[in-house]
């Protein structure tokens, strides 16, 4: 299932790349892409695992860029 989330305060482009890299390694994620310019996260993942994945994704994002938030 494909979903798009909005992000806020994404300020560093290489951080976006790091987040993308880390989230793509989570279990159940088929593909993920973070657009620095439109501040959007597009994720394609198993539907059942998605809530779990997003929880982990939030953690990853705040670890890499503490001010950055994802709007679930």
């Amino acid at each position: 299932m494909k979903k798009i989330y909005k992000m806020e305060n994404l300020e560093c482009a290489s951080c976006a790349a790091k987040m993308e890299d880390a989230i793509s390694k989570l279990e159940g994620v088929n593909s993920v892409s973070i657009s620095f310019i439109s501040q959007k996260l597009t994720i394609d993942a198993d539907e059942e695992l998605l809530p779990k994945i997003m929880k982990k994704a939030v953690k990853i994002i705040s670890k890499i860029e503490p001010d950055c938030e994802i709007i679930l």
């Binding site: 560093c12 482009a13 892409s33 310019i37 439109s38 501040q39 597009t42 503490p66």
Partner: protein
């Protein structure tokens, strides 16, 4: 400026004042040291805090951390001014960068501003303003003059003209009336319209276009992929070289503090930000500005591919020509013209093929004869029983099949001929012609100017009419008499025989050429507005029917690719040169900060050029 940016600005001003004060006091006095530290902390506090936080989370190669080491290192070496100035300069650059990014984000979203925010619906005779999400299929909505069409709908009451420029780039308003379909994202210019929604918000045109454009970043271009890979190795390599530079030469040449100072310069340049921001921004800007012109590009990778186009292959009907056929003449054998048209029209009555429609239209009378046993023979034509006669309408192959002897006739140049036989006897031919699009010739010339020397037309038509159109448009070559699946083969053959490393672009109407669209390097569908099939199948969609958007799209992509290249070369060479000068002792930290944030800002400004025409 956002609040955060303003705060940064105050910190920078404060720090600059403190730095001046420190410079005015006695060197090496306690007061001056205190002033230096105060100046440093007012700009350095945030990066230090971030660096500390990231260290505790195991992020060593963080930009803030490297900056902190570099500046604290300068303090330890008693280069106070340099330590403060580097941090100050870094913050100034970051501020510029943040402003530039914010600005380009805003201009990109302005380019794609087609999302309707509000819908006025009529429920039980009352007007209600709701979010477009809440409107259900089949509800009646009210669109006032100046309002955006929120959801795809069909007009039930009222006349008006609508501005489709947000979707198609076409500035001429379109007249609409009861029964016409409106796409979301259009703007109602004059009267009040009542309309019935035909789908929900999520599957409306505007939402679909936005989704496409916004996820276009998923399909990354080669240069973006290169940059991401490069960034992953760049920082660690620079940091380790800094370490090596601090330790190794001082063991050979002595004077460790000088080498440490040079190593600190490396740390300042170690962030690959300029590249990581500017290259995707370049492509994104191009996608935004293309969509403003009614060209939907589904991914940055297609920009790169399109920029390299060397072959453009066109479907004829609906792409080079208008796709609206007209009967331009008949030739009869033994029956009257009226009878010929009558028989053909009845046989073709249930077919949706544009040629069939043209014949029925030309006949223009009630189709009252009984028709039975209609068989459509793919690639040949139609056989049906009309009245008591078996009528065959189609091409030469069909005539052979039914055993009709076709007599030679005059061929009207440029027209398609449809042959008719009754009970196995040839009775005449109908000439049907299609008009060439107005901008077709001009577009072909523009493609030639862009250096594209292989402009090829594929068509199912006969040799004669294909030749005529090809020469009218001065195409480089054409292939006639192709059945739908022959087109895929023709494209495959062209791909195989291509000698240059350019790409092959196929342009079609997207309705029945989906396999060809996918087979070509870049598949472009025309007339995407209102056609989901075209939007699905193609890599690039031209929202209206204008062929002149193709040269425009190629120009835009070439510009984007060249700007991306400029940015890569510029940022990398500045960084490498400063690294080299730094190692040799010719570059100070000031220059290093410029190579870091200064280059980022310049690269972003350069990238933003894609958004201008």
């Amino acid at each position: 400026m956002t609040r955060k940016q303003r705060k940064s600005l105050y910190c920078i001003i404060l720090s600059a004042l403190l730095l001046i004060a420190a410079k005015l006091t006695d060197k090496f006095s306690t007061l001056s040291l205190a002033l230096y530290i105060a100046a440093y902390l007012s700009v350095g506090f945030m990066p230090l805090k971030k660096a500390f936080r990231n260290i505790t989370r195991g992020n060593v190669f963080d930009e803030n951390f490297l900056m902190a080491i570099a500046t604290i290192g300068a303090f330890i070496l008693r280069e106070y001014t340099e330590g403060v100035a580097v941090m100050l300069f870094y913050r100034v650059g970051e501020l510029f960068e943040s402003i530039a990014v914010g600005k380009s984000r805003k201009s990109i979203s302005a380019l794609m501003d087609i999302r309707p925010d509000i819908a006025t619906i009529l429920r039980d005779g009352e007007e209600l303003e709701v979010s477009p999400d809440e409107v259900m299929v089949g509800e009646t909505i009210l669109i006032k003059a100046g309002g955006k069409v929120p959801i795809d709908c069909e007009i039930t009451e009222g006349n008006s003209s609508v501005d489709t420029s947000a979707l198609t780039g076409e500035s001429l308003p379109r007249e609409v009336t009861v029964g016409d379909r409106l796409q979301s994202g259009c703007i109602n210019l004059s009267g009040v319209i009542k309309a019935r929604t035909v789908c929900d918000f999520g599957s409306s045109t505007a939402s679909k276009i936005l989704e496409l454009v916004e996820t276009a970043a998923d399909k990354k271009s080669k240069s973006e992929a290169f940059i991401t890979r490069f960034a992953r190795y760049y920082t660690p390599i620079v940091v380790f070289s800094a370490l090596a530079l601090a330790v190794i030469p001082s063991h050979i040449f002595g004077s460790p503090s000088e080498w440490i100072r040079r190593a600190l310069i490396f740390l300042v340049i170690s962030c690959p930000c300029a590249l990581v921001i500017s290259v995707p921004l370049t492509f994104f800007g191009a996608i935004g500005s293309a969509s403003k012109n009614g060209i939907l590009i589904k991914g940055s990778c297609y920009i790169e591919q399109l920029a390299k186009a060397s072959h453009t292959v066109f479907d004829k009907t609906g792409t080079l020509t208008k796709g609206c056929f007209k009967v331009v003449g008949c030739e009869c054998e033994g029956i009257s013209e009226k009878e010929l048209l009558e028989l053909a029209a009845h046989a073709e009555k249930s077919s949706t093929h544009p040629i069939a429609r043209a014949i029925v239209e030309k006949y223009g009378k009630q189709l009252s004869l009984p028709v039975s046993d209609i068989r459509e023979l793919s690639g040949m034509g139609i056989v049906a029983v009309v009245g008591e006669k078996t009528v065959a309408v189609g091409n030469k192959k069909l005539m052979e099949k039914v055993g009709a002897q076709v007599t030679e006739g005059n061929c009207t140049a440029g027209a398609t001929e449809v042959l008719v036989a009754t009970d196995g006897r040839f009775v005449g031919r109908i000439f049907i012609s299609d008009e060439i699009k107005q901008d077709a010739k001009e577009s072909m010339d523009k493609l030639y100017e862009l250096g594209i020397r292989n402009r090829i037309m594929l068509t199912g038509d006969n040799e004669e009419s294909a030749k005529k159109i090809a020469s009218l448009l001065s195409l480089d070559s054409y292939r006639a008499r192709l059945l739908p699946y022959d087109k895929v083969e023709a494209v495959e053959e062209l791909l195989k025989n291509k000698t240059d490393d350019g790409t092959l672009v196929f342009v079609g109407d997207g309705i029945n050429d989906a396999p060809v669209l996918t087979r070509a390097d870049v598949g472009i569908a025309m007339g995407g507005l209102g056609s989901d099939a075209a939007i699905e199948a193609a890599d690039i969609v031209l929202m209206d029917d204008k062929l002149c958007k193709l040269p425009l799209a190629i120009r835009l992509s070439r510009k984007a690719v060249s700007i991306a290249r400029q940015n890569i070369v510029f940022a990398l060479s500045v960084k490498l040169i400063v690294l080299l000068l730094g190692a040799l002792g010719y570059a100070g930290m000031w220059l290093a900060v410029f190579a870091d944030v200064g280059v980022s800002v310049l690269a972003i400004l350069n990238a933003m050029r894609t958004m201008k025409k």
